[in-house]
């Protein structure tokens, strides 16, 4: 659907994407401490960016939800924290390329997203919550440790454990 928006400027496809993603982006912003009005504004901005960048979306690189997540994350940094988000440029001639040409991942990226999602649902509740803290609270590990009154080492190992378990489940699929 993102591809349809990119290639044909398809407004119906955009409306469907909006219905699915805008409420989740807003929830993501509210989870990281935004008021409803500010969260709404960032969600709308993110959807405008989605429309503008749809042409650059490459389904071989990432699933739609992964791509939308990165847009929402960057909008949060830009609009809420008012900072730059330095990122590498995939078209940079100075970039060191993959050892082998990347395999065709079109089907794979979408499939993988479904698998990661299912694996996430099967994690124990407290590990899911640990990942949500790491991804949604706009806090690095050290700040999470402070907020939860846990030693930094404990936070690190819990998050690492959750990810290891997730990877294992994804591999077994």
């Amino acid at each position: 659907m993102v591809v349809a928006v990119g290639a044909r400027r398809d407004r119906q496809a955009f409306a469907a994407l909006f219905a699915h993603f805008a409420p989740r982006i807003k929830a993501y912003l509210m989870r990281s401490g935004c008021e409803a009005t500010a969260a709404e504004e960032v969600a709308q901005e993110a959807m405008v960016t989605l429309w503008r960048r749809a042409e650059t979306y490459d389904p071989r690189q990432a699933s739609a939800s992964t791509w939308v997540f990165t847009i929402a994350r960057n909008k949060r940094i830009d609009m809420v924290r008012r900072e730059r988000r330095p990122e590498f440029d995939p078209a940079d001639p100075a970039l060191v390329p993959e050892p082998d040409a990347p395999a065709d991942r079109v089907a794979e990226a979408a499939q993988e997203a479904t698998i990661v999602r299912a694996a996430l649902d099967r994690l124990p509740a407290e590990q899911q919550e640990m990942l949500r803290l790491a991804y949604f609270e706009d806090m690095p590990h050290s700040a999470i440790a402070e907020a939860c009154d846990l030693p930094l080492g404990t936070v690190k190992s819990r998050i690492r454990l959750a990810l290891a378990r997730l990877r294992k489940t994804v591999k077994e699929e």
Binding site: A22, K26, Y135
Partner: protein
């Protein structure tokens, strides 16, 4: 002055930790650390793959969120905004200035107005130059360091964490050998005296937690060390 130009395709041996990869993928780090990490990513396919997988986790977590209720007319507002908009213009490919002996990848290149060798370096100690990079946040400092070939650094410990990326040349200490693309993560438990490789100047990008503001006579005396 000598510069060692490393093989363009060589891949780093010292990588980011899981913790930093997660914090970067989640968008939880400030500009300074993100700059060092993203520049490492440009030089490191392995860590790029790791970040992509962690962004998949972010995508899955986003999917799993209970949708929030949107404001009335939210879609119409956005449709009105994109109404007359022409399709996005394709991005222009940026070429690094030709003739630079050291290729500086993005995003770092965008922060510099000159090639590494032509920057207005500030002499800190004999054999050690520094160039400060402005990044957001009061708690960290970001700098480029240039260490003359074969020069040992003064032995030092760290206040808080320090993140270093080698851009050219290399250095060694008891923990190993660090060359272009390598990430070096140190904290206050590390006390070390790195020595720059003898076959070329070493250029590094580094970010440290800003030193406490020390005042008074002792503070001023300490400062040249603390600052480093």
């Amino acid at each position: 002055m000598s510069v060692r130009t490393d093989r363009a395709g060589s891949r780093p041996a010292h990588h980011l930790t899981d913790e930093l990869l997660v914090d970067y993928a989640a968008g939880a780090l400030g500009e300074a650390e993100s700059l060092v990490i993203a520049t490492h990513l440009a030089l490191c396919p392995a860590c790029r793959t790791a970040v992509a997988a962690l962004e998949d986790v972010g995508g899955a977590l986003l999917e799993g969120l209970a949708p929030a209720e949107l404001a009335t007319g939210s879609l119409d507002t956005v449709l009105a905004r994109i109404g007359g908009e022409a399709p996005a213009t394709p991005r222009v490919e940026r070429k690094p200035p030709s003739g630079d002996r050291i290729l500086v990848p993005e995003p770092l290149r965008g922060y510099l107005q000159a090639s590494l060798e032509e920057l207005p370096w500030k002499g800190l100690l004999p054999g050690l130059g520094m160039f400060e990079i402005a990044t957001a946040g009061k708690t960290r400092k970001t700098r480029l360091l240039r260490v003359k070939a074969g020069t040992p650094m003064p032995e030092h410990t760290h206040r808080g964490s320090e993140l270093t990326l080698v851009l050219a040349g290399g250095y060694s200490d008891e923990r190993g050998h660090f060359v272009r693309g390598d990430i070096d993560i140190t904290d206050d438990s590390v006390r070390h005296q790195p020595v720059a490789d003898s076959d070329g100047d070493c250029f590094c990008l580094t970010t440290t937690e800003a030193p406490l503001k020390l005042t008074g006579r002792i503070g001023r005396l300490l400062n040249p060390f603390v600052r480093f």
